[in-house]
Amino acid sequence: MHFFAEEVIVLLIDDRKVYGCLRSLDHHGNIVLEGARERIIVGDLYCDVPLGLFVIRGESSILIGQLRFGMEDLPEDMMCVSEEEIKKAQKVEKEAKDLKSFMMKRMGFLDFLD
């Protein structure tokens, strides 16, 4: 089982998902992806952002996944949007998350927040 010259997904430590053709891998786990693109997913929206030739340092990858039939399918109800829209959605999600963690810190003793 080796994934060379195959389409793979790499999960990064910062929770990003990168697709691409696996070209190289060394014993540190450093990875080269050709034709890489990042898939940004927010709720049921997603967008692929092209990255080109991509070198990932071993320590920053979590997982390399081989894709079934080389497919990158997502659940059918997910919608592809533009980069601009996904960035906006990302911002909204981040603000909501920040607000929630702020509230939890202040009023964590109230269990209805959870």
Partner: protein, 93 residues
């Protein structure tokens, strides 16, 4: 070295690997190396709805350093062997 050998004996069994980012993946243990990097076959993610991008992943390589737990099949654990191996390791091989 003990855990490396131990995991090598579990090759072919069904395990669940939980990562430090909470992602839990179930699959057949294909191989393991000295860093406890793990290769799984026929994987499925435990909480599929939360990780839609993992839907089409069938085989995967997981970095040992990001693993939090490995859930083993109960029949894969032979306590006697493990005890012996531990004593041997404590004595220095």
């Amino acid at each position: 070295m003990l855990f490396f050998s131990y995991f090598k004996d579990l090759v072919g069994r069904e395990v669940t690997v939980e990562l430090k980012n909470d992602l839990a993946i179930r699959g057949t243990l294909h191989s393991v190396d000295q860093y406890l990097n793990i290769k799984l076959e026929n994987t499925r993610v435990v909480d599929q709805d939360k990780y839609p991008h993992m839907l089409s992943v069938r085989n995967c390589f997981i970095r040992g350093s990001v693993v939090r737990y490995v859930q083993l099949p109960p029949e894969g654990v032979d306590i006697e062997i493990l005890h012996d191996a531990t004593r041997r390791e404590a004595r220095g091989g």
